[in-house]
Every structure is written in C-alpha cells, then in structure tokens.
Symmetry: C2
Subunit: 170 residues, 2 copies
Amino acid sequence: MRVLGIDPGGRYTGYGVIERGPGGLVYVECGVLAPRADATLPVRLCQIGAGLREVIEELRPDVVALEDVFHGAHARSALRLGHARGVAMYVAAQHGLLVHEYPPARVRKTVLGHGGATKGEVAVIVRAVCGLKTAPKPDAVDALAVALCHVLSGAAPALSRRPRLGRRRA
Amino acid sequence: MRVLGIDPGGRYTGYGVIERGPGGLVYVECGVLAPRADATLPVRLCQIGAGLREVIEELRPDVVALEDVFHGAHARSALRLGHARGVAMYVAAQHGLLVHEYPPARVRKTVLGHGGATKGEVAVIVRAVCGLKTAPKPDAVDALAVALCHVLSGAAPALSRRPRLGRRRA
C-alpha cells in the first residue's frame, strides 16, 4: 500500500509518499509545492493542482492522507487553507483515490506515542523512519507524518478500494 | 463579453451566465450544482468541479465572477466554503479564465443601487433583468447577481485577456 500524505497550505503545500511493503516501511519521496507568491489565487491553486496531479500520476499512490484542520483557526486563514485543501481533495477524487483525514493530535500520537509532541520531535522521528540524511522542509515533514499516521493506523488496504458513501472517518 | 458568475457553497453551488452584447444584456443560462449529500467531501468537490467544467466547456464564458466571502463567517463554515471556492477557482484557472471577486455589498450596490438590499430584492431585479418567468433557485440568483455586477461594473473586456500577476482587485 502506497500512501500520499498532503499538507495543503495558503502558501506552501507539502507532500510525502510512504509505502508499506512486505519488508516494512519504505520512503518514496517528499517535497513542497511552492506556487509563485506574486500570482493570483486562482493561478496559485492551478499550480498546486498541477503539482499534485504530477505527483499522483508519477508515484501512483493507493490512497491519500490529509491532516484534519486546526479548528481554532481564524475564519480568514480557514478560508485560505480551505481553497488549497479543496483543490487537493478534488485532484485526489479525480484520480479515484480515497482521502482519509486525521486530526493533528492523532497524527502526533500515532507517530510519537503522545499527542503533545512538538513539531521538532515529529521531524526527528519522520527523518529517522524515512532514513533521510537531512531534514525535509517543515511542510514536507507534516505531509510525511500524516502518511505515516495512515500506514501505522493499520487501515486495511481493502478499505481504500471499497468506497462507501457517507461512511464515517476511520 | 460572456460572464460566468459562480456562488460556491458547502452544499449547493450556483452558476449563472450573462452576456453583454451590442444590443445590451443577454441572459444565457443559470442553474445549481447539487452533489449527493451522502457522498464524501472529496467526491462532492469532484462533482462540483465536473459540473463547472461542463458549464465552461459548453457555454464558453470569457471571464468568471465570484462573490468575495462573508468575512464574519465562523472558521468551520469558512473552511467548508473555501473547499468549494478553491475548486471553482482551480477549474476556472485551468481553462485560462480570469477570476474577478466582488464583496457582497458591492454586488448589491451595483445591481440595486444600494448595499443594504435584501436577498428578495436582488432576486426580483435579477429575474427582471434576465427576463425569467419564474425565479431561479437562490444560489443561481446569487451567481447571476455577481455575473451582472461584473458586467455592470464595466470592467473592460481587454482586462480579462491581459492578466497581470499580483494585481489588485478591480
């Protein structure tokens, strides 16, 4: 099972792909999509969507994992985040991929064992698990963390191929 | 100049197309995209995107007009709205269309002459201007209103063909 984690954002969108094979976890790739800051919002969203399409078509994930949003966010930033998040979900659904959402605390708890872990601790674990020599950029780390959370949560691969409408979150 | 107005929403997305021809305003079409309520969010967004793609490819607008959002919205509803709005902008940008945003009060003021107009008053004017026998659904009315706002604001057609990055809202 190959999982694409996405961390959509108003400015940067991180992505990270992890595979659960017979021999354990395998790190595939991670990166950050950075649309031009001086482009209009629709153009930036177009660049994010095109980047995600490229990642999906090249790396062929079986499922997408997305962080559920920070509920305490300000309405303005929630809207900004929503734009990028909507495009990520749209592109995933266009490719027939199921999207699983995980709250931030659940991601930290699954990856580190406790929900109160810092960003720095998450980065250390993600880097170690993926066997990376240098730390990826923060948005890529967050994307890998949510992908890792999905893999470690043990969602059965069959689930990702049997969509049921209206089902509750795993 | 043919304008596609879009009113994206968490549940329904309205659209309305108006043309400014040599003989004045011409109503083209309006409608509401209503994804299945029991579908997952990514699937609903996929249905909204597919519907907008179909509208754009069939009716060939020159430009898109979108209502700027209600700033006082709750973070949760802003996020929901953002998802649909992001998809609308993405699909528009994919088709090379410029997106113009108008605050709700500006739409009402342009269409009715004062920013404090009620939804009912907007519906009456939109119906009259478009020469419709029955009132369209509320989301379609809002979409027609923002399309009308763009046409009446007199944004030069040339503007929609000369995108400048980082430009301010009209």
